[in-house]
Symmetry: C2
């Protein structure tokens, strides 16, 4: 279980993949495999949460890293690069951005 809160010491990656619906499941599977084989062993990894859009056209990774520098180190890691390259080849476009949580509201 991952938590979203304003007082956590994390930086959030929201990576939006646009994908052909016939590649959506393969891309989601690849991202899950990449997380478990490589990403979750890297320094500063906090969480990765893979989402499939109901319309079949998107996959979103909502991920958390401890520091911006941990995310940047991951980008330079050869094994991570190999998985990211494979994901990019399955997608039509990839749009990663780093975020901070500005607010959370939920029903109790």
């Amino acid at each position: 279980m991952t938590t979203i809160a304003t007082d956590q010491d994390v930086v959030t990656l929201v990576n939006v993949f646009t994908v052909s619906p016939d590649h959506q499941q393969a891309l989601a599977d690849l991202l899950i495999e990449a997380t478990r084989a490589v990403m979750n062993k890297l320094p500063g990894f906090v969480s990765a949460n893979i989402h499939r859009s109901l319309d079949g056209t998107k996959v979103v990774n909502y991920a958390q890293w401890r520091r911006v520098s941990d995310f940047e180190d991951m980008l330079r890691n050869a094994a991570a690069q190999e998985h990211m390259q494979a994901a990019t080849e399955l997608a039509i476009s990839v749009e990663p951005h780093l975020y901070q949580v500005a607010s959370t509201d939920e029903v109790v």
Copy 2:
């Protein structure tokens, strides 16, 4: 605090706003206000989590609704429409999609 998990009875909205950096804070504030004034009183609202990108060009609302039909009812609500129209006018583009959580991995 919001939780991301595969076994929750929710549908997830990831709404990505592309924005001019000089409008990013105003857009985030507007979405927070819309959540607290209107959205969180609507049937089926579970959570809304507003994120600002570190590069200033994006605002993401990671939101949860109980059912797809609750989200669709919100889209038809006049007060919600008024806030969504104001948000759209502040943004360069708006890309909302509904998702299901395929997997979560986190360090313990």
